[in-house]
C-alpha cells in the first residue's frame, strides 16, 4: 500500500494520541484474549471423566450424557445389537482427593484421582485401557481375572506415596478409606500431574464408589463392515436420549453449559471494552480528519484520489489496531496467567482441583484478531469516508473548529424506535427480549445522546459555574458546539458506569438475597459434606456414616441428601436431589414459591416431587404437571406438588424426589449431605469433636456449622464482589482513556483559541480550570446517563435471575450508584490532568500561529 508511509508519518507525529488510542485497543484485546485463554483451563478442570482412553479398536462408547452410572447388565443389551462383535464394561470416574493428602515426591499436590474400574475377566485386548495411551508396565504385573482389591498406579504416584509393588495404598471411597494392594506400577506419560490414574478390577471400583452392579461406560467393537448408523439408531431406540454412543463426552453437560456461559461473558467483557475502544477510535479519527482538512485538501489538489484518502486513513487505523492487538494479546497471556494465579487457589479450595494454565486455541486467536482489528477498522470507516469527500478547495481555507451540523432526522427516528423497542423488551419479562431490550436501550442512549447534551450541559453548567466561574461557562460552550463528539465521549463512560451499576445492583441483590435465603432455608445446626459444589464426580458417603452420626451423643436428629445430575431430551442438565421428606422438612426445609409443606407428606409415596424455581421457569412447570423420569426400570411418572427453593441448588434446575426413588431408579446410594440438629443442652465441644471423628474415615467429608457456612458464603460473595470489581475497573479504564483522548484532541484542536484566550487575559490557571471543567462536564453527562442506564440494567439483570428461578427481591444499587458517581468524577479529573497541563503550557505566539 502506497498510503502506509503517509499513515505512519501521521502516527509518528502524534505520539501521545497514538499511545492513548492503542492503549484503548490493548485493554479490550487483553481482556478478550486472556479470559478466553482461561476458558479451556476451566473446561479441563471440570471435564475429567474421559481422559486417557484412546483405544484404537473400540468403535463405540456408551455413556450417559451426564456421566452418571447405569446398570451393568446393559452391556448384554449392547452386545445383542446386530453388528456389535464384542463389548466390555468400564468405570471411569474422577474422585476428589482429600486436601493435602497426596503429593508427588517433590511436594506438588495431587488433587484428584481418576479411578478406572476394568473388567479384568475380559481378555479382549481391544478393551485393554490399562496400557493404552502410551502407558506401559514398569514393574509388577497387569490386572488378572479373579483379582480382588488390587490396583495399578503410576510410578510417580507410588514415589509420592512411598510405596512399591506388594505394598498397600489407601484410596478414598464412598464407604470411607479402602486399602488396595499395589500389583503393578505404570510408567505414566504424566498427562496431568495433579490428577493421578489408578486402575483396578471393576468389582473393586464398584465397592470403592458404592455403585454395585453399575458402570458408567460400555465399550463396543463392531463386526467388519457393520452399519454404524444403524447401530446408533438401535442404541437410541434402546436407551433413549439420555445417552451418547460414540464420543467420550459424558459427565460434562452442566459444566459445559456453565463454561459456555462463562465464555460468552468473557467475550462480552472483551467486546464491551473493545466497543469503547471503537468509540475512542471513531472520535479520534473524526477529529483527526477535521484537523487535517487542509492537508487532505492539499493531497486532493496534488492528485490524490478519493480512494487514496480512504486507504490512507484506513491504513492508519489498521496500524493502530494491529499494534493494539499484538500488544493486547501479549498482555492477554500475562493477564491469563495472572488470573489463573489468583483464581487457582479459590478453585482448588472450592472444587478440590487446580486450575490449569491458560491455553490459547486457534479459535481464540482468530476471534481476538477479528475483533481486535475489525472493531477499530469499522470505527474508522465513517471518518475515512468523510475525509474522502473533502475537496481540494479546503486546502485554501483556514482551519477552524466550528459548530457541528444539526443532527439528522433519520438518526433521531432510529434512536426513538430503539428506545421504545428497548423499553418494551426490558419490560416484557421474556429473557431473550429483555437482553435484546437492554442492548437497544443502550444503543438508543448512544443515538439520542447528542440531543441530551444541550439540556444536560445547561443543567450542569450552572453547577460548574458556581465552582469554576466563567471557565465553566466557556467549557460548557465548548461541549455544546460538538454535541456528537461529546455524546460519544460521554457514552463510553456511560457504558462503563452503567455496567458498574448494573452488575453492582445485580450482585448486591443476589448476594444480599442469597445470604438472606441461606438464613431462611438452611436451618440445620450442622452440615456434613464433601464440598458445597457437589457433582456426579463427588464420592459421597455410604449409609454407614449417617448411622454412625445418629448414634453420637448430643445428636437430636439428622437427615441425608443424595443427588445425581441427569440430562433432559435436549441434553440440558437437571439435578435430582433425593431427600427424606419429613425429616428434611423438619431439619432444613425449602422456601416455597408455590404450594406448601403438605407437599413433603405427598412425596413419601414416591409419586410426587417438588421442583425448584429454576426448573419451573425453564420448563414452564406448574403444580399438577406430570414429569417423566427416565429411570433404570423404564419411565417413572411423578406429579409436581410444589415449587420450592433451597440454597445449594437455586442456580440449577432441580427436582426434589423421595430418596428411595432415587436409589431405586438411579442407583444412587451415597449421601452427599448430612444435616444434623443437636439436642438442647448438648456439650457442643464434645459433639463437634465426635462429628469430626465420624468423618475421619470419609475422606473429603467435613463438618460445618450453620454459622460457619454463613460466614464462608459471606466470604465467597465478598470474594466474588472483589473479582467483579476488578473486572469492572478494567472496563472503566478504556472510558478513562477515551475521555483523556477526547480532551487531548480538544486541546490540540483549539490551540489557537487557547492562544487567543491567553492573549486577551486568561491566566494559565484559568485555562487549566477550563479544561478540567470541560472534563467534569463530560463526566457528569456520562454519569447522568450511566446512572439511568445502570439502574435500568440492574433491574433487568435481577429480573433475569428471577427468570432463572432465583426469585430475589430487587435491591436498589445505592452503593453502586455512589461508586459510579465517585468513579466518574475521579475519571474526569484524572483524564483532564495531562490535557489541562498541556493547554495551560501552550506558548501564546505558537498557539496563535497554529493551523
Amino acid at each position: 500500500m502506497r498510503e502506509l508511509p503517509l499513515a505512519w508519518s501521521y502516527i509518528k507525529g502524534r505520539p501521545i494520541r497514538t499511545t492513548m488510542t492503542i492503549l484503548s485497543i490493548v485493554i479490550g484485546v487483553m481482556m478478550m484474549f486472556g479470559l478466553n485463554g482461561l476458558a479451556p483451563a476451566f473446561q479441563d478442570m471440570f471435564v475429567s471423566s474421559t481422559q486417557s482412553m484412546a483405544l484404537s479398536n473400540v468403535d463405540l462408547y456408551v455413556t450417559r450424557r451426564d456421566g452418571g452410572f447405569f446398570r451393568q447388565e446393559y452391556q448384554g443389551n449392547v452386545g445383542s445389537i446386530a453388528g456389535v462383535e464384542a463389548t466390555a464394561s468400564l468405570i471411569a470416574r474422577t474422585v476428589a482427593a482429600p486436601p493435602d493428602h497426596y503429593t508427588t515426591a517433590d511436594g506438588r499436590p495431587i488433587n484428584t484421582i481418576q479411578v478406572y474400574g476394568v473388567d479384568s475377566a475380559n481378555t479382549d485386548e481391544s478393551f485393554n485401557i490399562v496400557t493404552a495411551a502410551g502407558r506401559r508396565l514398569a514393574a509388577g504385573r497387569l490386572l488378572q481375572p479373579g483379582d480382588g482389591q488390587v490396583v495399578l498406579i503410576s510410578e510417580l504416584f507410588a514415589e509420592g506415596l512411598g510405596v512399591s509393588v506388594g505394598e498397600t495404598v489407601r484410596l478414598p471411597g464412598a464407604g470411607g478409606w479402602m486399602n488396595f494392594e499395589v500389583v503393578g506400577l505404570l510408567a505414566d506419560p504424566g498427562i496431568m500431574l495433579g490428577s493421578q490414574q489408578v486402575f483396578m478390577p471393576l468389582q473393586a471400583a464398584q465397592d470403592l464408589l458404592n455403585t454395585p452392579n453399575r458402570v458408567n461406560t460400555i465399550m463396543g467393537r463392531f463386526t467388519e463392515g457393520a452399519d454404524a448408523v444403524a447401530i446408533e439408531s438401535a442404541m437410541e431406540a434402546m436407551f433413549g436420549h439420555g445417552y451418547e454412543y460414540s464420543p467420550l463426552e459424558g459427565g460434562s453437560d452442566i459444566w459445559a453449559a456453565l463454561m459456555e456461559f462463562a465464555s460468552v461473558i468473557f467475550t462480552m467483557f472483551g467486546l464491551l471494552a473493545l466497543a469503547m475502544a471503537g468509540m475512542i477510535m471513531f472520535n479520534t479519527f473524526r477529529t483527526s480528519v477535521v484537523e487535517r482538512k487542509r492537508d487532505i485538501g492539499m493531497l486532493r489538489a496534488v492528485g490524490a484520489k478519493r480512494k487514496t484518502v480512504i486507504r490512507a486513513i484506513l491504513a492508519e487505523g489498521l496500524i493502530l489496531a494491529g499494534m493494539g492487538t499484538v500488544v493486547g494479546m501479549l498482555l492477554g497471556v500475562g493477564f491469563g496467567y495472572g488470573a489463573k494465579a489468583t483464581l487457582s487457589a479459590v478453585f482448588e479450595n472450592l472444587m478440590g482441583r487446580p486450575l490449569g494454565d491458560p491455553r490459547f486455541t486457534v479459535s481464540t486467536f482468530l476471534v481476538t484478531i477479528a475483533f481486535g482489528l475489525g472493531i477499530p477498522l469499522l470505527s474508522v470507516l465513517v471518518p475515512a469516508r468523510s475525509a474522502s469527500t473533502i475537496t481540494p478547495l479546503e486546502a485554501m481555507r483556514p482551519a477552524t473548529v466550528g459548530q457541528e451540523a444539526a443532527l439528522k432526522r433519520s438518526r433521531l427516528i432510529v434512536g426513538f424506535i430503539c428506545l421504545v423497542l428497548g423499553l418494551a423488551g426490558l419490560l416484557s419479562g421474556i429473557f431473550p427480549l429483555m437482553a435484546l431490550g437492554s442492548i437497544l436501550f443502550l444503543l438508543a442512549l448512544g443515538l439520542l445522546g447528542p440531543m441530551l447534551i444541550g439540556p444536560v450541559t445547561k443543567t450542569f453548567s450552572r453547577i460548574l459555574n458556581l465552582v469554576f466561574g466563567q471557565e465553566g461557562g466557556i467549557a460548557a460552550g465548548n461541549i455544546a458546539r460538538q454535541p456528537r463528539r461529546a455524546a460519544i465521549t460521554a457514552s463510553s463512560l456511560m457504558i462503563g458506569l452503567a455496567i458498574l451499576i448494573g452488575l453492582g445492583g445485580m450482585l448486591a441483590s443476589t448476594y444480599g438475597g442469597a445470604l438472606r435465603f441461606l438464613d431462611a432455608s438452611f436451618r440445620s445446626d450442622y452440615i456434613m459434606m464433601p464440598s458445597l459444589v457437589v457433582t456426579n464426580d463427588t464420592v459421597g458417603a455410604g449409609p454407614d456414616l449417617a448411622e454412625t452420626v445418629k448414634r453420637i451423643r448430643g445428636v437430636k436428629e439428622l437427615t441425608t441428601i443424595r443427588q445425581i445430575d441427569i440430562s433432559d431430551a435436549d441434553g440440558l442438565g437437571i439435578r435430582l436431589v433425593g431427600i427424606d421428606p419429613l425429616n428434611y422438612a423438619r431439619i432444613s426445609g425449602l422456601s416455597f414459591l408455590e404450594g406448601d409443606e403438605s407437599a413433603y407428606a405427598g412425596m413419601q409415596s414416591g409419586n410426587s416431587v417438588i421442583v425448584n424455581g429454576r426448573f419451573a421457569s425453564q420448563y414452564g412447570t406448574i403444580i399438577g404437571d406430570t414429569i417423566t423420569l427416565d429411570g433404570d426400570h423404564g419411565p417413572v411418572n411423578v406429579e409436581v406438588t410444589a415449587i420450592g427453593l433451597d440454597y445449594i441448588n437455586m442456580k440449577l434446575p432441580t427436582i426434589f424426589v423421595e430418596q428411595t426413588t432415587l436409589t431405586r431408579e438411579y442407583g444412587v446410594r451415597n449421601d452427599v449431605f448430612l444435616m444434623v440438629n443437636h439436642e438442647s443442652g448438648a456439650d457442643m465441644e464434645q459433639l463437634e469433636e465426635d462429628l469430626q471423628a465420624a468423618t475421619q474415615n470419609y475422606p473429603g467429608f467435613g463438618i460445618i456449622s450453620r454459622e460457619q457456612l454463613w460466614e464462608s458464603q459471606k466470604q465467597l460473595t465478598d470474594g466474588a464482589t472483589v473479582g467483579a470489581n476488578i473486572m469492572l475497573s478494567l472496563l472503566a479504564a478504556p472510558a478513562l482513556i477515551g475521555l483523556a483522548n477526547a480532551l487531548g484532541i480538544n486541546v490540540i484542536e483549539r490551540t489557537r483559541e487557547i492562544g487567543m484566550l491567553r492573549a486577551v487575559g486568561a491566566k494559565r490557571r484559568q485555562i487549566r480550570r477550563m479544561v478540567i471543567a470541560e472534563s467534569l462536564l463530560l463526566c457528569l453527562m456520562g454519569i447522568a446517563l450511566g446512572v439511568v442506564a445502570g439502574i435500568m440494567l440492574s433491574f433487568v439483570m435481577t429480573g433475569v435471575l428471577e427468570f432463572a428461578g432465583m426469585r430475589i427481591p430487587y435491591e436498589f444499587p445505592g452503593m453502586g450508584v455512589l461508586t459510579a458517581v465517585a468513579a466518574g468524577l475521579i475519571c474526569g479529573i484524572l483524564a483532564a490532568l495531562i490535557p489541562a497541563r498541556r493547554a495551560s503550557d501552550l506558548q501564546i505566539v505558537a498557539a496563535l500561529a497554529y493551523e
Binding site: Q403, E753, M756, L757, V845
Partner: protein, 232 residues
C-alpha cells in the same frame, strides 16, 4: 507620554546553525494617541516585534516598557493582567470563540478579569453600539460577515479600556471595502477615544491612515515615515 518604549530589542530563535535573528536591536516608541504602522516584507520581524510588545513572548535581549513598566520584570500572571487591562489585541483571523455570541465574545476579557457577567455585558453592549454592530450582538461568529466579525474583535480589544491596541495584519481577511471601513475605524479609535495603536501590516491602504510608519527589514528598523495626519 510614551505608551510603548523598546530599547535594543532582540529576539533570536533556535540555536547553532539553525539560529535565526528575528529582531535585531530594535528601539522604538509609541506615544499616547498615536497610530503607528509597522510595514515590511514577510519574515522581517514585524509580528515578532508585536508579540514582544504585547507580552506574548519574551525577548532574548533588550527592554520593552508599557506605560513605563518593564515587561522583563513581570511574571506570567503579571503579564496576563497587563494584557487584559492595558492592551487590546486584534488578530488577522478575528479569533472569536465560535460558540459564544458577539456580546459574550466582546465581554470575555472583562469576565476573565473577574467583572460580574451582567456588568461585563453592559460594557460590551456599549462598545458594540459604538462600533455599530449592536444589532448583531446575539449572533455567533459564523452568522456574521467578515467586516462584522472584525468589528466585534475590535470591540473586544477595547472593552477593558486599554491604552494600547495591537493589531496583527487585521485586514488580511477583509475585502477592500471592509478594509477601508476598518482603517477609518482605527483612525476614529485614536482620534475619538485617544487610544494608541501599533499595527503590523502589508497593506499600504491601511498604513496610510497611520500617523507614523516604521519600515523593517531583516529584524531592523530601516526607515520611519511621518504621515503628518495630526492637526496642528
Amino acid at each position: 507620554m510614551r505608551i510603548v518604549e523598546t530599547e535594543n530589542l532582540t529576539r533570536i530563535f533556535g540555536s547553532g546553525e539553525a539560529q535565526v535573528t528575528a529582531l535585531d536591536g530594535v528601539s522604538l516608541h509609541v506615544d499616547t494617541g498615536e497610530f503607528v504602522a509597522v510595514m515590511g516584507p514577510s519574515g522581517c520581524g514585524k509580528s515578532t516585534l508585536l508579540h514582544m510588545i504585547g507580552g506574548l513572548d519574551r525577548p532574548t535581549d533588550g527592554v520593552v516598557k508599557i506605560e513605563g513598566n518593564d515587561l522583563n520584570s513581570m511574571d506570567d500572571d503579571d503579564l496576563t493582567d497587563l494584557r487584559r487591562e492595558h492592551i487590546g489585541f486584534i488578530f488577522q483571523f478575528f479569533n472569536l470563540i465560535p460558540t459564544l455570541s458577539a456580546l459574550d465574545n466582546t465581554a470575555l476579557p472583562l469576565v476573565l478579569g473577574g467583572t460580574k457577567p451582567a456588568d461585563a455585558q453592559t460594557k460590551a453592549e456599549e462598545w458594540l453600539k459604538k462600533l455599530e454592530v449592536a444589532d448583531r450582538s446575539t449572533h455567533r461568529p459564523d452568522e456574521l460577515s467578515g467586516g462584522q466579525r472584525q468589528r466585534v474583535a475590535i470591540a473586544r480589544s477595547l472593552v477593558t479600556d486599554p491604552t494600547l491596541i495591537l493589531a496583527d495584519e487585521p485586514t488580511g481577511n477583509l475585502d477592500s471595502k471592509a478594509t477601508q471601513e476598518f482603517a477609518t475605524l482605527l483612525r476614529d479609535i485614536v482620534d475619538r477615544w485617544e487610544r494608541s495603536i501599533l499595527l503590523v501590516t502589508h497593506d499600504p491602504r491601511i498604513s496610510s491612515f497611520a500617523d507614523r510608519i516604521i519600515h523593517m527589514e531583516d529584524g531592523q528598523i530601516t526607515e520611519e515615515t511621518d504621515n503628518n495626519l495630526k492637526e496642528g
